[in-house]
Amino acid sequence: MVIPLALVVAALALVLVVWAGVFALRDRPVVLNQLLGAAVVEVAILAEAVVAVVHVVGGAHVREPGTFVGYMFTTLVVLPFAASWAFAERTRWSSVVMVVAGITVAFLQVRLLQVWGAM
């Protein structure tokens, strides 16, 4: 279950990247709907984290548990951080930050799958 969820998270994050990227190119700041989109991605990440914990408690073998926890934590904090900046920075640069955050989340899913032992 962790593998499909990670893929879903990566796909959703990339949708957010394209959406915020269009806004950055058009010189527009992040809008509320994008924050709701980011919240959807965050819910998917939380589900992924919970499922991963359940698997580990159930005795699943993780290739690099320490690194997995580190990357999972990073994945969890990136979007809330970018969202809080969207309020402080009402310029196109909040959109660029959202693009960076989305790319980070998507990239971390690849790394998470590697250290989980799926790749």
Binding site: G66, G70, T74, E89, T91, R92, W93, V100
Partner: protein, 145 residues
């Protein structure tokens, strides 16, 4: 990242230092990601298999510390410390990058700076250059050093 103009936004948002406004936020965000990822990775490496490659893992830890210092200083507007941290980072990525290619045996395990940051899309090489350029661009009028 096009458009240099929107960086010149109103300087009256007094609580946010100039280094952390506009494009600076993007810079701080990327630094924060590297600080977090490098720390997580270095921490695991140091705790679990320090003896396998003390030099490489020591350098990973150093890189993590440098990224943390740079992130905090850029975000808080400590220009001098930020300049030092970003310069150390640039020297680090150039020296370690060159050494890792010249003498791969000395670096049996990858660090963030190996092969000029190839494993991270060369972001570690580009980031300090952007950082120094940004510090230069946002320096207060009259301060020339």
């Amino acid at each position: 990242m096009s458009g240099a103009g929107s960086g010149a936004d109103t300087p009256n948002q007094s609580s946010t230092p100039s280094t952390a406004r506009g494009p600076g936020r993007v810079l701080v965000a990327v630094y924060a990601v590297f600080a977090l990822a490098a720390s997580a990775r270095a921490g695991v490496q140091l705790i679990r298999d320090w003896h396998e490659a003390p030099l490489a893992y020591g350098l990973s830890a150093l890189a993590a510390v440098v990224y943390i210092v740079a992130t905090v200083c850029l975000a808080r507007g400590y220009r001098r410390f930020a300049t030092v941290a970003v310069s150390v980072e640039l020297i680090g990525v150039l020296v370690v990058g060159a050494l890792s290619l010249a003498d791969p045996a000395a670096f049996p395990r990858a660090t963030v700076w190996s092969a000029f940051g190839q494993g991270y899309g060369y972001v570690p090489l580009v980031l300090p250059v952007l950082g120094l350029a940004w510090l230069r661009r946002t320096r207060p009028a009259g301060a020339r050093s």
